[in-house]
Structure formats: C-alpha cells, structure tokens
C-alpha cells in the first residue's frame, strides 16, 4: 500500500526543547478545553517520561526509534488519564476550566460542545464506510493515512469522506448549527 510509514521512522529529537515543541503541538491538538490550564504540566511530565525511557534505551542500545514515538503517545495519554481522574476544582466547575481555555469564551466553548454532540450524533447516522472515513478525518488523519489504516484505496477514502461530510453538514444545518 502506498504511503506505508517507515517502520523505524525518524528519531525523536534528542534536544529536550525540540521534544517539548513536538509535545506542545500534539497536546494542543488533543487536550480538551477543560484541561487547558494543565497543558504545560502535562507536556512537562510526558517529556520527562520520554527522556527517561530514552536514557534507558541508550544504555541498552537496543531500542528502535519507532518505539520512542509509541512511548510519546502512551505518555501523553497516561497524563491525560491521570489528570482526568484527579478531583480538582476545575473538574468540579467546568465554567472555571472554560475560563482557562486560551482565546475561548464560555459561549464559544458551549457552542463547540453543542457542535460536538451534534457531530457525534450525525456520525452515528452515517453508513459504516462513510462513518469510518469521517471519523478518521475528525481525528486528524490525512487521506493517505486513512487509506493505510482502513486498508482502502485513497480514492475510496476520499469519496466516502466527501459524501460523509456532505451528509454531516446537512445534518448540522437541519439542527440549526453552523460551525
């Protein structure tokens, strides 16, 4: 299949600053608004964990570079889970979390929440192939990546995604929502 990833992949940056830059971008994409005030800490924790694993790897000299990317993924998700479980004030007061989200008013956050709910509902109404294609698009996968993941041709992904998004738009309009 075209576009298959290099099984090794490029090495994760050695410099902590560059590693941190990557994690900031990734966490910025994934981190929900209620966790906005904790992003820095989350990045820091994940960064430390990755550097620790890498130091061990250097000692072992047997770790594949691709493994460290997997570690980065796992570290970010572990931190999200850990913070999700933590009974902090902002989790008890969602409004506070919204206030912390940079550049987002409470109204905007509520609007996004409404859109998310409607999108999830609309997604469930799509035929299976369209749903999967749109779902991967929502997660941020490119056409080629989605094709590789689903084992389809890029053309099929493109078509299913196109039709699925058109149906989703129509669904949102029906509900009076405009992203």
């Amino acid at each position: 299949m075209d576009g298959a990833p290099d099984p090794q992949g490029p090495p994760l940056p050695v410099e902590p600053e560059k590693l941190r830059e990557i994690l900031v971008r990734v966490v910025g994409r994934v981190c929900p608004s209620w966790m906005a005030s904790q992003r820095e800490d989350l990045v820091q924790e994940a960064c430390l964990r990755i550097l620790k694993v890498r130091r061990s790897a250097e000692e072992d000299q047997g770790l594949q570079t691709s493994y460290l990317w997997k570690v980065a993924h796992s570290a970010v998700m572990d931190e999200i889970r850990r913070r999700r479980r933590r009974p902090e004030a902002e989790m008890e007061n969602p409004g506070l979390a919204e206030d912390h989200a940079p550049g987002r008013s409470p109204e905007a956050a509520r609007g996004a929440s409404e859109v998310r709910e409607a999108v999830d509902e609309g997604l469930g109404r799509l035929a299976e192939p369209r749903r999967r294609a749109v779902q991967l698009w929502l997660y941020g996968f490119s056409l080629q990546e989605s094709a590789r993941i689903l084992g389809w041709s890029a053309k099929r992904v493109d078509n299913q995604r196109y039709q699925g998004l058109a149906a989703l738009r129509a669904w949102l309009e029906e509900k009076g929502l405009k992203p």
């Binding site: 992949g9 698009w137 929502l138 056409l143 084992g151 299913q160």
Partner: protein
C-alpha cells in the same frame, strides 16, 4: 482553501476542542494498539472494531487524535494544530482540483481500461485500481462532443445539457450495473433500466454502447441539472447480483434517453436509495478487500457544480 473546506476545518476544530475524555471504561484498547492502528499495522477488521469503540469513548477518540498528531510528527510533516488550516501539499477532503492532474492523464488514454472478473487474481491486498485482469472489460464513460465522443475520467466537469454514455467491451457475457449518486445522496439507476435497448447480460466480443443505440441514432443520458459531485459506479459480474438488483429496483430509474440528474431532484424513495447505497458500498468493499473475487467495480467521480 474553499469556503466549504474552511467550514469543515472549523467544524473539526470545534469538535476537537469540546472533547471531555471520560475515565477509561471496560473494553478500552491499550494505547499501543491504537498507535499500531494509526500506523497501519493492524488488520482492517480490528481497526473497524477499535473505531467503533472510539465512537462511544471520548478517551479512546483522544488517543486516536494523539496518534494522528504524533504520527504526523514522526513522518516529518507539519502537524495540524487546533485552529490551523490544513497545510499546503496535503490532500484535503474537498479539493476537486487535485483530481484534474489524474484527469488529464487518464483522458489521454481515451478509454478507461477496467479489469476483472476472474477470481483468483484479486489478492487480499488488492485495491480496485490494482486488480490484474485475466478476463478484461474495457469500459469508458464518454460525453458527446461536436467532433465525437470525449472520454471522461475522474475530476472532469460535466454540466446540464451534456449527454453521456458508457461503452463496455467484455470478453464474456456480463451483468453490468451503472448507478450515479450525488452529494445529497440522491441516486439514479442508469443501467439496467426498463425500455433500454440492452438488457443484462450484455453480449461479449463487441463494444456495447449504454444506455443504447438504434440504427438511426444513439441514446445517451442527458444531464438535466447540477448536483455538485457525481459518482458513477459501474459494477459487473458473470452472474446476476440479485441482492443489488432488488435494491436498485426500488430506486429512481433513468429513462433510456434522459439522465435526470442533480440535487434539485428529490429521490423518489430516499430509504430505498440509502439501502441501495449500502448495497453498493458493500459490493465495492467486497471487491476492494478481495472478499468477492467475482465482481468488477469501478467508480468515476465527476464534478457537476451548481
């Protein structure tokens, strides 16, 4: 980036920003498995199961999002951050212009060479575009022009008033089905239809023009209205596809000389259209996955802007 693209980007950003991952529930896959899925290392069946789970689990959805973002970093591409537009050079979901490069190349070929029907040649990893033919069908979608037929392929533009036809040349008698769908989900059966000159199975060893031809004139499907993007699906089989035929019987049918097309037309039976679309998608998926090796399938996507 078009207005639609920008709206879709905003939609995705809003969707992502409103995530509120719950604590892991029962049956959540390990992050390592989601990572493997994101890298294309899992079988499609397992990927489908993981995606089905992630639909109802915002934490696993977030794990997929993290995998997408990290995977992109790992491949050295610029990441897509919240609020940012898709970087140039990547394939966007709505970018018809990208298809035109392919279009020019394919149009020069004059005939879209399709393939198929012999079982064993479709291996597990084959895609529709890669199946090696043993029993070949040559099929071409054409637009009538002043100097003769103009071949149509992916991304080319059609407009109301254009007259389209399909040529099929099979090495053995075959059951052929031609369906068009637009963005609104409106679908039409173009072939087989009542009253057409040809009926299934189409004869072998000669070029057959669909929807038909008479001694004095040719029939064509006339595009009656604009409908955005149009997908023409051609399915062929050595045996009749009874399940598909049942679904198609409930759908809007083109007449032999008029191809009523476009978003302005309400489907006569939307539910039947949806069922037929499901049947079509299932047939296409079966061809693509190699599970049904007795089918030939081809999709041709044309632009029919409003």
């Amino acid at each position: 980036m078009s207005g639609t693209d920008q709206r879709d980007e905003r939609l995705r950003d809003q969707w992502a920003a409103a995530a509120d991952p719950e604590s892991p529930g029962e049956g959540c896959p390990a992050d390592s498995e989601i990572w493997s899925a994101a890298r294309g290392e899992l079988p499609p069946e397992r990927v489908t199961a993981l995606l089905a789970h992630a639909e109802g689990c915002s934490l696993c959805a977030a794990s997929f999002q993290a995998a997408a973002a990290l995977s992109r970093e790992a491949e050295g591409a610029a990441p897509r951050t919240a609020g940012a537009h898709q970087p140039a050079g990547r394939v966007a979901p709505f970018r018809p212009a990208r298809r035109h490069v392919v279009t020019v190349l394919l149009a020069a070929a004059a005939t879209i060479v399709l393939m198929f029907l012999l079982p064993r040649l479709v291996n597990e990893n084959a895609t529709i575009d890669r199946v090696e033919p043993a029993f070949a069908i040559e099929a071409g979608l054409w637009k009538e022009g002043e100097g003769g037929g103009v071949p149509l392929s992916d991304g080319q533009r059609i407009r109301p008033g254009d007259r389209l036809y399909l040529t099929v040349h099979g090495e053995r008698p075959s059951y052929v089905y031609v369906i068009s769908r637009d963005l609104e989900g409106s679908a039409s059966v173009l072939f087989p239809v009542a009253g057409a000159q040809w009926t299934n199975p189409l004869p072998s060893g000669k070029a057959v023009r669909l929807p038909g031809e008479t001694s004095s004139e040719y029939d064509s499907w006339e595009v009656s209205s604009a409908g955005g993007r149009e997908t023409f699906t051609v399915l062929a089989s050595a045996e009749p596809l009874e399940e598909l035929e049942s679904a198609l019987a409930l759908m809007e049918q083109a007449t032999p000389d008029t191809y009523v097309r476009g978003g302005g037309d309400e489907p006569s039976d939307p539910e039947a259209g949806a069922r037929a679309a499901e049947a079509l998608d299932a047939a296409l998926a079966a061809v693509q996955s190699g599970k049904d090796e007795s089918l030939y399938a081809r999709e041709i996507i044309l632009e029919n802007p409003r």
